[in-house]
C-alpha cells in the first residue's frame, strides 16, 4: 500500500462494535441496515479495493449482481484485493441472484480455487448487512469450530495400536507393553524374546506381522 495514512488505519485495531467502511457506501441501504443493527461506522476514502474493514483483522469485498453481469472488471478487482493482502482474513461477499446465478459457478472457482479467498453468497444488501452484523457482534465469542488440542490419551492409543497385531487381544497387549518399552521395541523383538511372554504360537505370529514383506509377500530380512 502506497498511502501511509491507509497503512496506519489498516494496522490499528478497530474500536469494539465498529467497522471501517469505504466512502462509496455512505448512502447505501446496506449501510442503513448496519446502523439499524447497532453497528458503528467509520468512513475512509483510502481503503483501496476493500469495501469494509471488520473486527479481528477481517476485510471484506462486495461483488454485486451488477458487477457480475457487467463482466470481467470485477476479476481484476478481486486480484488486486487478494494481492494487497497482509495478515488479514479476506472475505468475498457475492450477490447470488436469479440474474447472476448463471455466472456463480465460474465465479466461485475463480475466487476459491484460483485466488484462495473465502466466498459467502448473499441474496442482496439486506442479507449482507445481517452477515456483517454477525461478524461485528460475534467478535470475541467462543468459536465451536476452532480445533481444540486433542484430549486423546496416548497410553490408550498405544494399547489400541498393539491390539492391531493379529492374535493380540487386550491382555496380551498389556503384557507386551509391560515387557517392552515401546511399540518399536516390540517390533524388534525376536521370536525367542517374545516366546516366554506370549507363548510360542503368538511369538511367531507377532514377529511375522512386523517382518513379513508387504510389497512382495515374502519375509523381510532384518
Amino acid at each position: 500500500n502506497m498511502d501511509p495514512k491507509a497503512d496506519v488505519l489498516e494496522n490499528s485495531d478497530l474500536p469494539y462494535g465498529h467497522i471501517l467502511c469505504h466512502e462509496k457506501w455512505r448512502t447505501s441501504s446496506l449501510l442503513q441496515a448496519l446502523k439499524d443493527g447497532g453497528v458503528k461506522i467509520l468512513f475512509e476514502k483510502e481503503l483501496g479495493v476493500t469495501d469494509f474493514h471488520l473486527p479481528s483483522q477481517t476485510r471484506l469485498l462486495y461483488v454485486s449482481e451488477c458487477d457480475i453481469i457487467a463482466g470481467n472488471g470485477y476479476k481484476r478487482k478481486l486480484v488486486r484485493y487478494r494481492n494487497a493482502s497482509s495478515s488479514f482474513q479476506e472475505l468475498v461477499l457475492v450477490e447470488r441472484t436469479q440474474l447472476s446465478e448463471q455466472y456463480f459457478s465460474a465465479l466461485q472457482r475463480f475466487v476459491v480455487f484460483d485466488l484462495g479467498l473465502s466466498l459467502l453468497p448473499v441474496s442482496g444488501q439486506t442479507e449482507a448487512s445481517q452477515l456483517i452484523t454477525q461478524i461485528v457482534h460475534g467478535e470475541g465469542r467462543d468459536n465451536p469450530f476452532r480445533r481444540k488440542t486433542s484430549g486423546q490419551l496416548l497410553d490408550s492409543v498405544t494399547v489400541i495400536s498393539v491390539q492391531q497385531i493379529p492374535g493380540v487381544g487386550r491382555v496380551k497387549a498389556l503384557t507386551l507393553m509391560q515387557n517392552f518399552s515401546s511399540l518399536k521395541e516390540i517390533s524388534n523383538a525376536s521370536p525367542a524374546e517374545l516366546e516366554p511372554i506370549v507363548g510360542e504360537g503368538s511369538a511367531q505370529q507377532i514377529h511375522s506381522f512386523f517382518h513379513r514383506n508387504l510389497i512382495t509377500g515374502h519375509w523381510g530380512i532384518i
Binding site: R109, G138, H211
Partner: protein, 242 residues
C-alpha cells in the same frame, strides 16, 4: 511372488476416497464422479462421512438446512475438529436441499444462527464451497482433487488394499495418532514391512507417508514412547499405592 504393478492411471483422472456411510444423493454423486469425470473412487470405512481428495485435503458435504439446524452443531464441530486433526486442509461443501417429490420446495430462510455458523467456519480455517446438488458437488470434488494434484499433493498410491496381510498392516497404521486413511495407504505402499516403518527416521516417515513434518514427528515419537500400562491393569490390591 511378483510385485503387482498398480493399474496405469487414466490420463487426467483423479483418485478419491470416500466413506461408506451414504447420505442424500450419494448414488448420484458417485455415478457422476466415476462416469462423468472418470475418477477412481474407492469406498471404504473412514472415521466419519467425508471424502479424501489428496494427501492433505478432506471434504465434507452438508445440506444447507442441516448446517442451519442448531441441534447439529455439536456433532458437526466434532467431526470437523477430527478432520482438522487428520488433514492440513478441510473443505465443507454446502449443498442446496433437494426438494422431495411432490413437495413444494420452500426458499431457504437465512437466520442469525446460520450466519454465525458460516462466520465461525471461515474463522476456523474451513474452506466453504457452494453447490446446487450432488452433480455439482461431484464436479467440485474432482476440481479440488485436480488442483491438489497440480500442487503435488494428489493421491498416487492404489486405493484398494489386496490381501489379508496388507489389510492387517493397514489397520495398525490407521491406529497411529493423526494418521488418516490416505497416510496409512501411503505408508503401506512405501514401507516394505511394519518393522521398517517402526525403525524409520522422521524424514523417511514424512516422505513415505506423504505427510507434513510435524505429523511425521508425532508418529516417530509415538512409536518410541513408553506407556504406563499399570493404569490399565486390574490391580487386586487397589489400596496399596507406590
Amino acid at each position: 511372488a511378483v510385485t503387482e504393478p498398480p493399474p496405469p492411471p487414466l490420463p487426467g483422472s483423479v483418485s478419491i476416497l470416500m466413506d461408506s456411510r451414504s447420505t442424500g444423493g450419494m448414488v448420484e454423486l458417485v455415478m457422476s464422479l466415476r462416469q462423468r469425470h472418470g475418477a477412481d473412487v474407492h469406498v471404504c470405512s473412514l472415521d466419519s462421512n467425508y471424502f479424501i481428495v489428496s494427501n492433505r485435503m478432506a471434504v465434507m458435504r452438508q445440506s444447507q438446512s442441516d448446517l442451519a439446524a442448531m441441534q447439529n452443531r455439536k456433532r458437526l464441530a466434532e467431526r470437523l475438529s477430527n478432520m482438522q486433526g487428520l488433514f492440513e486442509r478441510v473443505c465443507l461443501i454446502v449443498e442446496k436441499d433437494r426438494s422431495k417429490q411432490g413437495e413444494v420446495s420452500r426458499p431457504f430462510q437465512r437466520t442469525r444462527y446460520y450466519d454465525n455458523t458460516l462466520v465461525a467456519l471461515v474463522r476456523a480455517g474451513i474452506r466453504l464451497l457452494w453447490s446446487d446438488g450432488a452433480e455439482e458437488s461431484a464436479g467440485l470434488l474432482v476440481d479440488l482433487a485436480k488442483l491438489e494434484s497440480r500442487k503435488g499433493q494428489g493421491i498416487a498410491v492404489p486405493l484398494k488394499v489386496k490381501g489379508q496381510r496388507r489389510e492387517e498392516a493397514l489397520q495398525m497404521y490407521l491406529s497411529l495418532p493423526s494418521v488418516s486413511h490416505v497416510h496409512a495407504l501411503n505408508l503401506l505402499h512405501n514401507f516394505s514391512s511394519v518393522a521398517q516403518l517402526m525403525n524409520s527416521s522422521v524424514e523417511s516417515i514424512q516422505k513415505g507417508g506423504c505427510m507434513s513434518r510435524s505429523r511425521a514427528e508425532e508418529i516417530y515419537r509415538f512409536l518410541r514412547r513408553s506407556c504406563d500400562c499399570t493404569l490399565f491393569t486390574k490391580t487386586p490390591k487397589a489400596g496399596k499405592i507406590g
